[in-house]
Symmetry: C2
Subunit: 341 residues, 2 copies
């Protein structure tokens, strides 16, 4: 069964394939297998009011296209997120369109005419809000302070996940420290309440531009954008945009309706003809949608997430020969799934 | 003109847009502007015999779809590359298909039936060939040894690129060292003859899984694949595959014909129905194609490449407020273009 499935599963949203009888029993679980084994209480429900649901016009075959975005929680970008809530309440995006698809970069949507009046009461957010202050003043010599949940939970972790049986607590700690310190665009990073976040030594932190993240288009500084013009990342993490544009959320379902769109042939991937644009039928907060499924994410403070992140950085499942020994934060996507009814 | 073009250009293949009169004259060049200014002699032609040209069946609108791949040079993966040359000569891929498109991961093609006989004389390549030995035994304290061209060329660099006018040679050297040492999946990395390459301290080096790279599908170890089953990366760099699968090249034109394909709905993104598969009309070496355009890449030893890489890691062009101060090797794509006739 596994024959010719060649490159192994990467996305946590796919269940691992059963191994056929002649294959050796795996010694170690793959990242998706670890996620599948996580306990129900390790998952955190996402409030429907924190979802932004975008329905595109049906595709050429008449199939519905729904994209579900989870909005960014405090302390990040709340000025723009507030604007987005107002824009959704005003049904402002209905009838607007996707206007730009640049390969290995972004899909961007909003009002192509640039003339549609914005609802009243939108906030002008200052550039200082691209980052948030944190009380966690980073001390690079005391990174273990960031890992309390790991240290507390190590015995249970080792019991649950036999792949740690050959690793001492100090070895595991060393691995986590390496991952935490390893950010080429910041002094450090860590997952904070389900989101990838970068830190500097001055007491600031900010969300990171990973695949699927949603941000706010803007003009040249000091403009910061309103939130009416949005984009989603569909390529290698453009981390150079961190701290330069506001991130307001991430796509948690239906990104294929954006990432598989034809690339625009104009400068920056803009569509050159009106008929190339993809119409947005509606965009609403999740609590305004009938029968909106509930989503949940794997708590990034959970033992299972720690095991998952470690496995992403150190692949030991059967396909792999040489574990990398590290991973960048955008290569450890936070597992999100529909909550079982 | 630049209004609403929001997220700035990322790809080196787009020319910078002209600024309108009211915009301030940029103090610093953007990465694409630096590439556009590179001298003719800084570009290196790619031999047509090192190209693998894949023609897909025309799209729904009858438009041709050609994907051009540059094959990996020695010392990397030459066993598989040799097999690929034989497969192309035997027209083995003609009539096969793209069978898998997994979002944020890979597009994979080959014989969906798994029954098509392979040409004779293909080599079985050992796993040891996933890496190559290098005489450059890495000494982390002497990384400057990797940067001779930069040190030799700094005066010319500073003259050509006014953005360095505020940076001393030692500052520039520090920036390069930071970039070079910054690899979360290896001890170090650098560009080698136009390719992104990672190094370990033991004297090995290997190409890295960046966006657009092409690799060889395989079964479980010790299988290493023949080269008949290929994939291209269409998402965030899956660097955990480095040293675990052979990389044999990269897409240099037409990747949008792969990355914008509908995602497969089966496990691992395989297409579930035969009619979803995209037929491969032909796949040939570039020297067997009539009117094959010549491509060239910006020499990664050139002064312009050094300036480009530095600008990718430290964006100072008008859109940016806070330069990142670093970049991962997959966020510094090597510029490739058609050679002017």
């Amino acid at each position: 069964m596994i024959k010719k499935l060649s490159v192994l599963v990467c996305s946590a949203s796919f269940a691992a394939l059963p191994l056929s009888a002649q294959d050796a029993k795996p010694e170690y679980l793959s990242p998706p297998e670890i996620v599948a084994k996580a306990k129900a209480e390790e998952w955190v429900a996402i409030a429907p009011s924190d979802l932004l649901v975008m329905d595109l016009a049906p595709d050429a075959k008449g199939k519905a296209r729904r994209v579900v975005i989870q909005l960014m929680p405090a302390p990040f970008s709340q000025g723009w997120v507030g604007n987005i809530r107002k824009l959704a309440a005003a049904k402002w995006w209905d009838g607007t369109s996707i206007n730009r698809v640049q390969d290995n970069y972004v899909v961007q949507w909003g009002d192509a005419t640039e003339k549609k009046a914005l609802p009243e009461g939108l906030m002008t957010v200052p550039e200082s809000a691209y980052v948030a202050a944190t009380e966690l003043k980073l001390n690079m010599d005391r990174l273990d302070a960031f890992l309390p949940s790991f240290h507390e939970s190590f015995p249970e972790f080792a019991k649950q996940f036999p792949e740690t049986r050959n690793a001492s607590q100090s070895e595991m700690s060393k691995r986590f420290r390496k991952t935490l310190k390893s950010d080429l665009y910041a002094d450090a990073n860590m997952m904070v309440e389900g989101w990838p976040v970068a830190f500097d030594l001055k007491g600031s932190h900010w969300p990171t531009h990973c695949y699927g993240m949603v941000g706010v288009g803007r003009n040249l500084s000091p403009d910061t954008g309103t939130g009416a013009e949005l984009y989603a990342v569909i390529g290698h993490a453009p981390r150079h945009l961190d701290r330069n544009i506001a991130l307001v959320g991430r796509v948690i379902e239906g990104i294929e309706h954006l990432s598989s769109l034809p690339r625009g042939t104009g400068p920056l991937g803009f569509y050159e003809k009106e008929e190339e644009r993809v119409q947005i039928s509606s965009m609403r907060l999740g609590n305004e949608i009938t029968d909106q499924p509930t989503f949940e994410y794997l708590s990034t403070d959970s033992v299972s997430f720690a095991a998952y992140a470690d496995a992403r950085a150190n692949r030991r499942d059967p396909f792999f020969i040489t574990p990398a020994g590290g991973a960048d934060i955008c290569n450890i996507p936070v597992p999100v799934r529909r909550k079982a009814k």
